[in-house]
């Protein structure tokens, strides 16, 4: 190890640690919280060009590091003491500006803390900053932020800039670039899993209801779920144990004990039944390397003693249109509160009527993609069209959930790619929203069914990572992590971006 002697440590190497390793070193007083945090702050500086953070919270982080060091000195270490994290700017943070990457909230500072960010802070994590994202979590490439695009630490073959995926692109970039050991994201239709796949990270969305939505700026309430980015399955398990849990401040939060997920790290996949949806595998448009990764993952699990079972998800092909009806419908209503009356941006003009104030404020305050989705959502709920769109979509959503339920009668987990392609160039697909929406084709079914799902890096295509997705039945994050860990153990690829 590089840091075996005190003083002889190479600071930048501290950012490469796994969470469990960092905790061990802190506990044995081989490193201090201050050193751990400072090394990450230096790394944040170095990769500033990625634009991963909207609001860095350096002073706050250093203060917290001091507190952590005091606790460590007193042997009062918490479960995630001093672990430097990024927090997606969708989570409200007390006395720290929270923007949802929108002009609308560009001057909004909450007086309250979201439950999930509070939960991890209570376990000792130290927030380095609020990470960039697509505006109001709407996007698949992190190109809709009012605060500018996030650039992936990965580069194309010609050195061209790539998207980190979205909407939690800042969190993904921060962890992939070693500027945080973990980062909170939110996943509505794939906003954690897809950027995880694009940046070579582990990205987990637990069961809908596992994490409280209290204090998380709403996009589509029936789908929104907090998630996490890490560089290993074990790190994800540690973070999830801290994030999850019942919260009486969210009616949709599930009152079910949090499982011991780190235990799953030591269990093999032997005896697990893995479902592979043949019908989806055979559909057009999936790239060769994605199919190869899929097959390779199946082979690994089989050789580790899991049973591979063919399943079908016949309604999953409707997931994308269903999602792009339901999510905008809910968003159109959830975003009504940003009206210029209270804490948001407000258009400045003399003698506005109330309606003019609304129109101008919302025209100025929201970006293109957000406006597009508000319009779609308003349309699909409007009288005369609602039955054809919203009501029908809800029915199909139920059928998709039923498909999964039927499968889970036979299998413990379902294996799917996370995204159909690796990360694309920052200027690609910008003029074609439908092509952009297709990114989410594999992540959306689990979102609609409220199931736990995660992406783990499983292959490379032309030097860029690809993600494999593991979906398990509701509340069975344990089996999901077992499968992911089984893959991780056997995939011997270094998912570090060039130059990091």
């Amino acid at each position: 190890m590089f840091y075996s002697t005190k003083g002889g440590r190479i600071m930048s190497e501290l950012t490469k640690l796994k969470i469990s390793e960092a905790l061990e070193l802190l506990k044995n007083k081989k490193i201090s919280a201050k050193e751990l945090v400072t090394s990450h702050i230096e790394q944040m500086e170095k990769c500033k060009n990625l634009n991963a953070f909207i609001t860095p919270t350096i002073d706050y982080a250093l203060e917290q590091a001091k507190i952590s060091d005091e606790r460590i000195a007193k042997n009062e270490m918490r479960k995630l003491e001093a672990i430097p994290v990024g927090v997606k700017d969708l989570f409200c943070t007390k006395n720290i500006r929270t923007t949802a990457a929108s002009k609308m909230l560009s001057n909004f500072t909450p007086t309250y803390e979201s439950t999930v960010s509070q939960n991890i802070a209570d376990n000792g994590t130290i927030m380095l900053g609020k990470t960039n994202m697509d505006e109001f979590a709407m996007g698949s490439s992190n190109t809709t932020s009012y605060f500018g695009n996030v650039i992936s630490p990965w580069r194309g073959a010609e050195g061209e800039e790539l998207v980190p995926g979205g909407s939690s692109g800042g969190s993904a970039a921060a962890v992939a670039a070693f500027a945080s050991m973990a980062a909170l994201g939110s996943d509505t239709g794939g906003s954690v899993r897809q950027p995880a796949a694009f940046t070579g990270l582990v990205g987990v969305k637990p069961t809908y209801g596992r994490c409280s939505r209290y204090g998380m700026v709403s996009f589509a309430s029936s789908l929104d779920q907090a998630g996490v980015f890490t560089r290993s399955v074990e790190d994800a398990a540690l973070m999830l144990e801290a994030m999850m849990g019942f919260d009486e401040k969210d009616s949709t939060s599930l009152n079910i004990p949090v499982p011991n997920l780190t235990k799953a790290m030591h269990e093999s996949v032997e005896g697990l039944k893995i479902g592979v949806p043949k019908d989806l595998m055979e559909q057009d448009g999936i790239g060769r390397s994605v199919l190869d990764m899929w097959q390779h993952s199946i082979d690994i699990l089989k050789s580790e003693g899991a049973a591979i079972i063919d399943i079908t998800l016949p309604t999953a092909k409707y997931a994308l249109p269903v999602y792009y009806v339901i999510a905008p419908a809910e968003a159109s209503s959830n975003l009504s509160r940003y009206d210029g009356v209270r804490y948001t941006h407000r258009a400045e003009q003399e003698h506005m009527t109330l309606d003019e104030m609304y129109e101008m404020t919302r025209s100025e305050g929201f970006g293109e993609e957000v406006k597009r989705r508000i319009l779609i959502g308003t349309y699909v709920l409007s009288s005369g069209f609602k039955d054809a769109y919203y009501t029908k979509a809800q029915k199909i959503r139920r059928l998709i959930a039923n498909d999964f339920n039927n499968s889970f009668a036979k299998v413990d987990a379902v294996l799917l790619p996370t995204a159909p392609t690796p990360a694309f160039g920052i200027n690609e697909k910008q003029d074609d929203p439908v092509a952009m929406y297709l990114n989410d084709i594999f992540t959306i079914p689990a979102s609609l069914a409220g199931l736990p799902a995660m992406s783990i890096p499983a292959a490379m295509e032309n030097g860029l990572p690809l993600g494999m997705q593991v979906i398990s039945k509701a509340l069975d994050e344990y089996s999901m992590l077992r499968v992911a860990r089984g893959l991780e153990r056997n995939i011997k690829i270094d998912f570090t971006p060039r130059g990091f």
Partner: protein, 481 residues
């Protein structure tokens, strides 16, 4: 039933009412903020009420209890499955940009309220009762250039109670409102105070030739007293008749009542009607009720006014009128029943409805502030019944109790008001009277029966009204023979 005399014959009123009843609850429907009336502006606003980013509604269980209780009081069906929907529209005093209401699956359906009309009892069917949030208040009169918003009311729980179009006159509408208010107050689920806005009414009105199909209706918004509901209906129905009789058509629209002019005017036409884009609120779970829970609420139900009236008539032999008067307010009924312990309820009823109410009205005092408590009336009636005082003396005692709040026996003692019931003393007084009035005695004996009253009066005068009137009668008759 009442008809409108038009130029082409008579027209019938068709009226349905939507009442917004503020739920009696210390905290709001989806937040812990206080609902206290009259607090300083924006002092009772939580993060949820102000619709801050990431804030989520949490259903107040007590408001559900209250809605179920009200549903049972309306003899309605309690739905074991109900759902909160969002009603989307923009307004400055609606921070969320939507009102949380129950559109598709209300918590209560199919109830009934019986009202008394000239033709007898009439059933007004309740279509539904659903839970919803109140909005805040916009104030446009504070500044010439700006409007101000008070969010204290924002998020307070309301029960919207909707009738079928069953009422056929302004008076029936008024009777319905009064009856509903009585029931809500009995249940303790709404204070029914229209002045404070805790009960507000929208009226749907159409007219038709008797027996014809339903006409096009107009909705009159936010009428704030029973009297104004009647005025609004009268004006609006007449307006519609005039349009129809001059060959016009009624436009379905929402209208506002102006209490100053007594007129209604267009608020928004059908074309301008909002598209509320109702959909189930994904932040809230459906409300599922167990039969056990409903039964538990049912076991806490008070006796309702209709049942109470029936019991008073049957058990206490009260007139329907007296029974109804006593049952209009649960507090009065409780007062009355407390005063009837072990004494004749009919006598108590008379004292309460005539003497007590008369004095309270005259002095403009509320029953709760009255110095005469049930125990006073109870003791007094007991004293009448055992002959200690006469009814006439009781009036003196009553007035004194009203002023001082002293118990009747104390008043009687201090004022020496005990009834004289011993025949020797009464005979002695009668003798005196007869001796003092020989001409009248002659006159009576020669057939002027009317003079009997004169003798009674003289005896009562001499005894300061304390002589037992029955005995005076009997003894006088005997001694005048």
């Amino acid at each position: 039933m009442a008809f409108i005399e038009g130029n082409t014959g008579i027209w019938e009123y068709v009226i349905g009412l939507e009442v917004h009843a503020q739920i009696s609850s210390k905290s709001k429907l989806f937040s812990g903020s206080s609902t206290e009336f009259g607090a300083s502006t924006n002092s009772q606003v939580s993060l949820i009420d102000a619709a801050m980013p990431g804030m989520l509604p949490i259903l107040n269980q007590y408001c559900v209890d209250q809605a179920v209780k009200t549903g049972l009081g309306l003899k309605a069906k309690i739905n074991k499955y109900s759902v909160f929907d969002r009603k989307n529209y923009f307004y400055a005093d609606l921070p969320q940009g939507y009102q949380i209401s129950q559109f598709y699956y209300p918590i209560v359906e199919n109830g009934v309220i019986d009202i008394t009309t000239e033709e007898g009892i009439k059933h007004v069917r309740i279509n539904r009762l659903h839970l919803e949030q109140d909005a805040g208040k916009s104030m446009h009169d504070q500044s010439p250039t700006s409007s101000f918003i008070d969010l204290n009311r924002c998020g307070i729980g309301l029960m919207e109670i909707v009738t079928e179009p069953d009422m056929r006159s302004p008076l029936e509408a008024a009777e319905y409102l009064k009856k509903l208010r009585i029931i809500l107050r009995y249940l303790g689920t709404c204070d029914g105070d229209m002045e404070k806005g805790s009960m507000r009414c929208d009226a749907n009105i159409s007219v038709r030739k008797p027996g014809a199909e339903l006409g096009t209706r107009c909705e009159i918004k936010n009428v704030n007293s029973v009297r104004n509901v009647m005025r609004a209906i009268e004006y609006e129905a007449m307006r519609q008749v005039q349009i129809l009789e001059s060959g016009g058509k009624i436009d379905q629209e929402t209208r506002l009542f102006d209490a100053n002019t007594g007129e209604t005017r267009t608020m928004r036409s059908k074309e301008d009607a909002h598209d509320y884009r109702y959909f189930p609120d994904p932040d809230l779970l459906p409300v599922r009720l167990e039969q056990e829970f409903i039964d538990k609420i049912a076991s806490t139900m008070p006796e309702l006014p209709d049942d109470k009236i029936k019991r008073y008539i049957k058990d206490f032999e009260l007139t329907e009128y007296d029974a109804a008067v006593l049952c209009e307010d649960k507090m009065v009924a409780d007062y009355f029943e407390e005063a009837t312990q072990n004494v004749n309820a009919k006598i108590v009823a008379n004292w309460v409805t005539s003497e007590l109410f008369g004095m309270l009205n005259k002095e403009n005092i509320d029953l709760v502030d009255s110095k005469i408590k049930p125990v006073h009336i109870n003791n007094m009636v007991a004293l009448i019944e055992n002959g200690t005082i006469s009814g006439k003396i009781a009036k003196v005692v009553f007035e004194e109790m009203f002023k001082s709040g002293d118990m009747p026996d104390k008043i009687i003692k201090e004022k020496s008001l005990v009834q004289v019931s011993d025949s020797t003393s009464i005979k002695q007084v009668i003798e005196e009277v007869l001796l003092e009035n020989p001409e009248s005695v002659e006159g009576y004996k020669s057939g002027k029966d009317k003079l009997f009253g004169f003798f009674v009066g003289q005896v009562m005068k001499k005894t300061g009204g304390r002589a037992n009137p029955t005995m005076v009668n009997d003894l006088l008759k005997e001694m005048l023979q």
